[in-house]
Amino acid sequence: MVHFTAEEKAAITNVWGKVNVEETGGEALGRLLVVYPWTQRFFDSFGNLSSASAILGNPKIKAHGKKVLTSLGEAVKNLDNLKATFSKLSELHCDKLHVDPENFRLLGNVLVVVLAIHFGKEFTPEVHAAWQKLVTGVASALAHKYH
């Protein structure tokens, strides 16, 4: 069970309050596909993924990124209960989507880099550590129902 201190919770919610979910979601998912091209294997039906600019401009990728990051918003609202929050999504990713859980860790790390770009100096080591804990907790919760 991941336990967040009051300071960590504050660091997370403070940053989240300033995040543009649509833009950041698209950017994080897009970068995942650019930086780790093998992750494109899940997006065959999404159209043009032939270059970084194609990926980042792809409307289906943007829409899906927004969906994924909106779901992370649920995590932010339920920091004390990540496993329960993602229980159904975990089953979905295992049974229907067949996504290797390593991909959740990769996306989490890409999101952290995107936040660092956007928040700059405000993204202190302590804020980073809190978010690292969150993305690790979410990745773990999403993998929890795998069998």
């Binding site: 930086v35 970084a52 790390n109 880099v113 770009i117 080591p125 980073h128 550590a129 690292q132 804990k133």
Partner: protein, 118 residues
């Protein structure tokens, strides 16, 4: 390059501190700063030998395999924190292609440094 990634890594991935039990790990530690500079110098060397990295990093590979024996996972943690630090300080330069290139470079360096482990 200011070597912030080290203390950064210790905060996000506390298990990495196990390799520095003999260090003063308090904030502003001279030892940590000096060690960070060693890392930065090694990466600078790597950058100037992109076409023959295995040869350039050979003695460092030996050191890590035979003496330091740092578990391979830790290279991933440090590489990630390096990227975060660079992103923070140079947001304008961290476009997706640069991000991908840097990640690839750090991953390759990490592989070379652990290549003689067994």
């Amino acid at each position: 390059m200011c070597m912030a990634p080290k203390p950064w890594t210790f905060l996000s991935f506390p298990e990495t501190k196990t390799y520095f039990a003999h260090f003063d790990l308090s904030s502003g530690s001279r030892q940590v700063q000096a060690h960070g500079k060693k890392l930065a110098d090694a990466l600078t060397l790597a950058v100037s030998h992109l076409d023959d990295l295995p040869a350039a990093l050979s003695s460092l590979s030996d050191l890590h395999a035979h003496k330091l024996k740092v578990d391979p996972i830790n290279f991933k943690y440090l590489s990630h924190c390096l990227l975060v630090t660079l992103a923070r300080h140079h947001p304008g330069n961290m476009n997706p292609e640069v991000h991908a290139s840097l990640d690839k470079f750090l991953s390759y360096v990490s592989n070379i440094l652990t290549s003689k482990y067994r």
